[in-house]
Symmetry: D2
Subunit: 400 residues, 4 copies
């Protein structure tokens, strides 16, 4: 077998070199990200359930969580949720196997609770948020085989498409890191910062504007002065972080919609705008690489919640990103790389119809000089396509 | 003011002396009782919320909880819930008062969680059971006043009827105590006994048959032998208990529907049949005195969940029972007493259209000899009608 | 086989002769009755579905419909529903039989729609009311056999109790007929009358007070004057009707809570109070004979929605009423008759533990003179116990 | 005022000239499109409701419909739905204005019913599909002004981005027209074709593969032979249609997953895969121009259901497409045009931060020759930004 791997010159400038660049990341507490996170954690839990009980992953898809916003009355020092958020976990799952019932609903709910408690610690499960579940049985004609002794690479049963790119531009890096660092390093010392952090990056030429909308948690904010301190704290942290990633001019704005005179500020009880008026659903926010990048081709596929054994869209989106990162890690001279995978119905998924690596080389680097190396890496990664499945089930890869 | 209190001879034999008597009690873990308990705990929580926030109880009614059964796979040593129980809390509540939002939904959910955790400790909130809530706003023309400085007795706005009786017959006592003792004293040493204990008493002449259906909790039952021990333990306990309340002949059956050969036994994961196929709702089980007594007049009114400030049906059912008990406690010579209260629209509820005490005296006791005393007690209790409201809000009185 | 049929003297006065009598009927448009009607129509549709598809009635119970009230803005000449009523049909049903799927959910919804369109013609299905359904699978160990060639009388698997009585007292007759006639004869010429008619009858000695609460439909009421005419029309009709059934003194009140000065009247868009704040559920209103009669023993059993093949509570409540009516139709000299049926676990349901006819004879009639005739009729009716099932499935008998 | 309009050369080949092109369109009966269509029809109905009642469009967003698939048992000649599809309409809407209640829930449901009856005529509303609604109140600080006398262009309150392009490539045209023509012209004579038509186009060089998945409606298909005829009919129709739009080599496949031997065919009761296992939600399918085009930049924004008065993402996506189409209609010499609009917080939305027209000219055409004309058209269209709002409310523009 020889895979159809093509390397070609990308017929545009590297995104880093384009005039205008827009990048966005919805933080883990954003209503759409909450749904992505729930869908993926439910998916992981079901994969694990099937592996534990029947030794292989059975048919399921849980990529349709819907969040209906609640109502809240935040107040300095601590307000309260008035109407709970309502979350409906939707999907398909195999509920019976060889006469044995499988607790898919209970498993889904347990995973949802665990996820919410970790991702949104201020949100009280069962009172601030109601989680309901509607998992129907699928068509039943699919029987998945991951985990079996005689494990084989599954066949593509659909024409599907995945796209990944690397390396991240400075703006992409800053946007991604801003959210990640705020929600980990910064949060560790600043409990007033809620997980609903939305970061928008806009670069025009050599100026980068970072706009952060950060939900503050009222229990940790005594008054307007403390709120103002909290906002300033975020701005300083993000400014430092951004400047460590670029030599361009950086401007950071935090909670620009605030109007202190009107008393209109971004204060929340639970740290997410889902508590008051912002609904959410799966696949509406970040792409599989954690970013929204209108400058680049993106797949519409909702990656989170899909079955990682046989859903080609999920596998190819994660794999193309992984391939792009691996290539740029290992091969010098690449300024921008875009990897596309297109499935071929009826063929094993490690033999795509086409695997296509499009490259903008760094100045002075010939494509021909690196082509062979690139093909080899792509080939290796395709050969290990089931590694994606394994990493997803183990929770080692983020899908949003 | 002089209340219309009538004392008369009850024109039938005392229930204790009738030939056939049937009595039933659904234990706190029965699906209907779960709904009663949830409705009443939500009601208490809302009363308290209103008192805390606005100093008086506002309009609400939460007497419509619906439970949809789940599915479970019990197994010796510990099985699991497959599909969660779904509970929908339904009712009306005032959500805003003088421009201030009141967290009625969140309060209802918190009360539900607390209640379930106490009443059904094996049931995991949020995974074994989903609690949802639909509390609409009422018509808004009602403004209740309990708790205000200028507290007055509310007016009756409906023709409503309450009925109570005392003393309990032997069979009633046994049925009531069986469930209460099993779920407290016995449970303390026997964690295998679930709270879904249903007790049916049937007396024919001087023979009392007690039939107990008791859900066993699988985590505490290793095998069929232990199950059989558990059933026998209950039977012995109930037999002793029953015999301490009567000199009549007592027969006790426990889990009669079991068929060991077929492997059909009453084993559960959570201690309630709601986990597998038994739905429930408010007002379908025990009456306000904790019993179902077809030998006696009963009110159809669902007492649990009703607003204790202005719902006459609730107040009169609880009050008539309380009056009956007080009278028989304090007055000698009463073999059977039935108290009926009928409201008069447009009059304060402490002035019923008629308060009617019907009595079967003990042999040798003339009605005229006790009439005055009875009237005085009824009058006192009616004068303290708001005491019922207070005891309900404080949780000092059971409604099912 | 000889059935255990006992005839005895009822040890109380006939209800007709008691001093105070209270009777109530909730009309078909009352929220509780809507639920009863839905539950029973769903039950009939499922019975029919099973008979059509597999030739026998399979296990189901649909006795748990929950209605959550909507919000409406009625207005003279025609207002509108603001928030729809939400109805949740709850129960158990067999969804698969010998590998064949049975459309129980769709059948339930179709039955609900048909019922609502007939019972509440002003209520637009799907916009004024949302009907949802949660029918789980039951425990599966029950296999019902009605409709099979080798049809046999089912066995009692529970201790259950039914009670019926006849003849109706004057007050009972008036209350029952008032609602029935208003919703048929009167409605035919008076489209302004909605089906939510609640009738309360109270008799003290020889005075009967009938209180009617009648929801008027705004599209047919142009102004307050027409509303007043509508109320007066009902009062006159009911007065005439009542006087045709009694020589006692009759007083009729209609919509007594109205306050024209305050603009508080009983005007609705759809003819039911469910549109604005009144929730409902099954088994909370009328007993199997269509009335709530606190002067008489009543079963707590919710008759509507239960499986008519094997639910003893349903069968015995309907049968005892039917027996009582048949006996008083055919035997002279009975002033009050109460029939009780008590099941015997493990025996066919036509062989109750005890069938007990308690009688108040008319003056001058000896019980012994009619006893034999009564026993014979009871025996015949018990022998035809499956006739109840048949009549229920055919829709020939009302359950509420 | 002078708008910031930039015209530049697009730094890539025209999509028509790229080596590989992928295009997809989900037909109106696809579960995701059903949600898009419902969300947008609810949105239009609410806009109209507000205009009718208060003369201006109030705050709302209804871009979150969730569809949970049902279960069905299709059969030649006509099968049946077993479990209904469940649709939850989610969003925010203003329910009260100047003390007046607005029937937003009922309006949403009525719009949903009307839409479904038109788009999916085989789907019985209320029995094959349950539509539920959860529209919360928004944050309330937004007051929209469209429709007022003093109508002004709204301010941008968010950084948002829209992208459109024109002309469509041959493959895009074929994919789009295939679905449109099948669901109108072809359907008129072929009732066996359901509206769930999914079209995938893949072009490699000069070969175009069109893959159609078309749900057939069982009531109009008597047997496998008729089914095969139906599939062939679609293939021939699509082949002719495609060849009328291109001189390239065209291959058409229809229902490739069918396996006649296994009896696995794409037969449905209602014409949509939502009846059996395929869930759906808003914004997961077609972009605002009706296509999914991974070769082009796409906005992640869910256009359907958003408020067309003040939601910049919706307006800019529709407007950029409209601008691109107008420019290519009126200006000769453009081979590929991409229009991007980026909002500027705090400025009227007709003054974007940047409006950017990137062009691939036809051979021999200089960009400078057409630049001025392009700028003028873009300027005109921006000046008429509220025209988008008007067309959306009137239903003159498709959003998916």
């Amino acid at each position: 077998m020889s895979r159809n791997i093509q390397v070609s010159r990308l017929d545009r400038r590297a995104v880093e070199d384009q005039e205008v660049e827009i990048v966005e990341r919805k933080g883990i507490g954003h209503p759409d990200s909450i749904c992505d996170g729930l869908a993926e954690s439910v998916s992981r839990a079901l994969s694990q359930l099937y592996l534990d009980r029947v030794g292989k992953v059975l048919h399921y898809n849980t990529d349709e969580t819907q969040l209906v916003a609640g109502r809240a009355a935040p107040a300095f020092g601590g307000g309260e949720v008035i109407e709970p958020i309502y979350v409906l976990i939707v999907g398909r799952a195999t509920k019976e196997y060889e006469g044995r019932q499988l607790p898919v609903d209970s498993t889904a709910l347990a995973a949802a609770r665990e996820y919410l408690e970790e991702a949104l610690p201020e949100l009280e499960y069962g009172t601030d948020v109601i989680v309901d579940v509607r998992l129907g049985e699928g068509s039943g004609d699919l029987q998945d085989v991951f985990g079996e002794e005689t494990q084989e690479v599954p066949m593509a049963n659909d024409t599907s498409f995945g796209v990944g790119h690397a390396p991240l531009t400075e703006t992409e890096t800053i946007v991604h890191e801003t959210e990640r660092e705020l929600n980990t390093t910064y949060y560790a010392d600043h409990p007033e910062l809620g997980p609903d952090v939305k970061v928008m990056g806009k670069r025009e030429g050599d100026r980068i504007d970072i706009t952060v909308a950060a939900a503050m948690v009222d229990a940790h904010v005594a008054d307007l002065e403390e709120y103002d301190d909290a906002v300033n704290g975020v701005r300083e942290f993000v400014t430092d972080l951004a400047e460590s990633h670029t030599d361009r001019e950086v401007h950071v704005d935090v909670n620009t919609a605030d109007d202190y005179e009107e008393g209109s500020i971004y204060l929340t009880v639970t740290g997410t705008s889902a508590e008051q008026g912002d609904d959410g659903s799966v696949g509406r926010g970040n792409r599989a690489n954690g970013l929204i990048t209108p400058n680049r081709p993106m797949s519409m596929e909702a990656t989170s919640g899909k079955n990682p054994v046989n859903h080609i869209g999920k596998i190819y989106n994660l794999l193309s990103t992984h391939v792009a990162e691996t290539v740029t890690d290992e091969v010098d001279g690449i300024r921008d790389l875009q990897v596309r995978l297109l499935s071929q119905i009826g063929r094993p998924i490690d033999e795509p119809h086409v695997a296509d690596a499009q490259i903008v080389t760094e100045e002075g680097v010939e494509l021909s000089a690196i082509e062979e190396e690139v093909v080899a890496i792509v080939d290796d990664e395709l050969a290990d396509v089931t590694g994606v499945t394994r990493r997803v089930i183990d929770g080692d890869v983020s899908t949003f």
